[in-house]
Symmetry: C3
Subunit: 384 residues, 3 copies
């Protein structure tokens, strides 16, 4: 697990425009549930990026009402050096509900070196489950306990899930194993996704539970394999995997999309993500969410989702629009225009909570809090 | 089949707050398509529950324009003693379209004693189908005709549907059979669900058709088995079944949810029901409906749906909000606040038809009429 | 492939009210991406149909601002004689983005005689794919190369997809083969659907890719077979196929529905089409679209969708309402009232872009352009 040492100048760069493969990126956004003290929108437009990253720009002082930047003389780096792992571990879950000032945020770093710990934990959980339910022994043995690593187990499990009478699991296993073992970044992303589900979904009772059963998690890993094949020019296989995942998990992610790490696809049924969509790190997406294109021209035509975004169930985001870091989109929304960082958009058509001119800024990362409804009181025309 | 003898004082109690397992309940709500003559909202708040159940409260007189309480001197019990079976039988389907006064409602009781009749009927339908389509003989024989009871046939059919190469149908069959034969309430609920589909879905041509094919019905029964396992503390198995049902039927019902009887999940694709959701009796839910939570804290965080509620396609109800008995939620709505009994909420965000102060009261049970659109004329800003 | 020679009098007749089986129809609507020069709404009400089809009715002059009828003295037939195939071929895709005047529209006709060319092309694509990915040899051989015609290959592929342990693929294959080889109209529709996907979906890389993988395409063909069986009175089999397709593809199309040719079900997850729905030719429908009924009475209770309509993701159209030829329904809309031809309806509840009194008329066929978002600027209350 890499240590993230960010300063404002890097934090101000959007993740996904400067890199061809987001899976190779060190996430830019601080992984605490609270936003870093950055006075600038992390997900800013190029013009803004060139501005000096002053802590005292009048615009952001107003927008944030500034709980995050109470002491301009304090060394800025303190707030921007985070261990990516720290918020993922159950013991840090309370951070998500930290006070806005985040005084209790640990400054020392410690992190999971290589994810081997997670595989051991998965195996322990599997053994514990078998003790409780011996009738599942065969299932857990063939799916978990007989394998030597997370990658092998994943290749095996996915190959069985996506196989059918025309596509034997053996063929898929060889293919998947080659991809997974050849790309350590995928394994890291798998681990981050497992942590994301475990941390953010209260219905997830263990890593092994997520690994074996959660179709959102499995569909996301099928995408990661397909994306790797796609980027290697093996489009036929990539699309085959996409379509099998769409049938088996009802999650339709084009292998050309670029998706970061720490992704939660909660419930996942009906999720559609188009070819040129880009999704940052630590994003939470509910079921029936569409990141769709428009028109039938090729080219960049799908949404760009920043880090830490939460998108509620049944929402459509259409076209090449940008959803800023840490933004929240309410359930059932239709979004056709950009949404600024840390704001909340709701409705059909979507509006910014607080108004277009002075939208209310979120002080917690919505994808981590999974708070879908606290915007109610601000949604002024909600009259029931 | 139990006779329902309700009086106003019981009818005024919400079903699902006073019992740990709604499957053990005698449904409180009258099963006629017309509401009983209760002048009080059945699904009232605790304060209202303590009020005397006067037939002449000015508030409800106005709200109902009172077609249901035309004769205050008539013995009230008459309207509240119903045979649960009577509205479910095809021959009584016209009751749903009864005039508001419901003059033709039979006062005598007769009911199906134990559901054995339904199993015989299913077998008869199976034989008739085979006569028409001999190529289906094997399918019907192995699914229906070779079994001795509805419970055994259900355990067998579901075990085949939910099996895969990792989870053999034999293992699941033994598990399911143990649950189903050990809990007569499940069999009663299965029968009520079969009647609900047959009665309310004009596309359902027979019980056997529903039993073999309707994924909403099958997903609901998979939930009932998973819920029993969950309540026995066998969470690992319960969640495994949930996730297999989500893959196979694309219906994701947490086994911790509590769901009454006579449930129709129409079309069913994409339905998501969270862990602490509660659903009363005789509820009709269309596809892509979410009863979702908010936040990632554990605890009571999902909607509570009263008896006789109809929820249209694509609707999200989020958070621990109460949808009153006999309420109707229009398709594509987003509901984040409570909806009073017998009212109609539509839109994104949802509004009450007739306005918040004086919403129009429904005089028929929407889950039984399946009337999704008669609120159009009241939806004032609908301008096409 | 039939040549379409349309004149205004036929073009003004709605497709689907005068025929029992739309699959037997020659599509009425011009297949160019631009609308023909008809000054009358193609999908008009009976009263309007009786009006003389004058090119100079003041109403349409205003509505269209008339780019399509710039020269009233020009022989009208020129604009209405199209080769159906011409817009489907990749080389003609630029036509969709033609200028409104469509000067570059070829006047000469050439068309694919019987679709045999398409089958040869599918086989060529299969061989090319195998060269790139030899591990798929068995899959492509058993699915494509071992078969003698498109119909046989389709019967085989669908029978495998829809089979399970209770319904062997051999039984389904015999059934499907009988239907497909006995009805040349189905094969024509299959070809038109293949062209529709290839032409309109930029993510579709080849015919064989669509044929093997696209669940929207496969679900549509399963419907065509089920519809044939339904119209032959074999309802039990028809419904069985419907329900298997709903499980396997999560596309639930009642076999009683009547659906034209050149249909694109894009992504397709969660599509629900009711028993008495009618869909014209060259319609594009995104995922999670519902064409639903209301009430539980039998009878004509589902929407009627004209030719060339585009329906965005997550939209519900409920009740027996008519969506006029060439209309566009935005994503996430709820439509309960008729939508005039060539207009755009968006929102929940849906409104006409440009207003009810004088809605903006589309000058391109939305199902062909797949333009989902160009109405934004007209959607006046969209404030982000």
């Amino acid at each position: 697990m890499t240590i993230l040492a960010l300063d404002l100048s890097t934090a101000a760069l959007p993740l996904y425009n400067s890199h061809s493969n987001p899976q190779n990126l060190t996430p830019h956004l601080s992984m605490s549930a609270c936003f870093p003290r950055s006075p600038e929108p992390i997900f800013s437009d190029p013009k803004q990026r060139k501005m000096p990253t002053s802590l005292h720009s009048s615009r952001t002082d107003t927008a944030l009402t500034n709980p995050l930047s109470r002491d301009p003389n304090r060394p800025q780096i303190d707030d921007h050096v985070y261990d990516y792992a720290k918020f993922c571990r159950p013991s840090f879950s309370n951070l998500v509900y930290c006070v806005p000032i985040c005084e209790n945020r640990p400054k020392t770093l410690n992190h999971d070196e290589d994810g081997g710990d997670m595989w051991l934990r998965l195996k322990d959980e599997a053994r514990s489950d078998i003790e409780q339910e011996p009738i599942l022994s065969n299932f857990y043995f063939s799916s978990i306990l007989s394998h030597d690593s997370l990658g092998i187990a994943l290749a095996n499990h996915l190959s069985i899930k996506l196989s059918n009478s025309s596509l034997p699991s053996g063929t898929l296993y060889d293919l998947f194993l080659g991809v997974v073992t050849g790309d350590q970044e995928i394994i890291k992303a798998v681990q981050d996704d497992l942590r994301a589900v475990k941390e953010r979904d209260p219905a997830c009772i263990s890593y092994v539970h997520c690994f074996l059963n959660f179709k959102g998690f499995l569909a996301c890993q099928a995408y990661r394999i397909a994306h790797k094949l796609w980027s290697q020019g093996r489009k036929i296989l990539a699309i085959l995997i996409q379509n099998r995942a769409s049938e088996v998990f009802t999650v339709d992610i084009h292998p050309g999309a670029r998706i970061g790490r720490g992704i939660l696809l909660d419930h996942a049924t009906g999720v559609v993500i188009g070819e040129t969509a880009v999704i940052g790190d630590n994003v939470s997406i509910l079921h029936n969410v569409t990141l769709g294109g428009t028109g039938k021209a090729c080219g960049d035509r799908h949404p760009k989702i920043g880090d830490g975004v939460l998108i509620g169930a049944g929402t459509c985001v259409l076209g090449n629009v940008r959803i800023g870091d840490g933004a929240k989109i309410g359930a059932g929304s239709v979004v056709l225009k950009p949404v600024p960082p840390r704001t909340t958009a709701v409705g059909n058509p979507a509006r910014l909570v607080g108004g277009k001119e002075n939208p209310i800024r979120l002080d917690k990362i919505p994808s981590l809090t999974m708070d879908h409804t606290s915007h109610i009181s601000e949604w002024s025309d909600y009259v029931i």
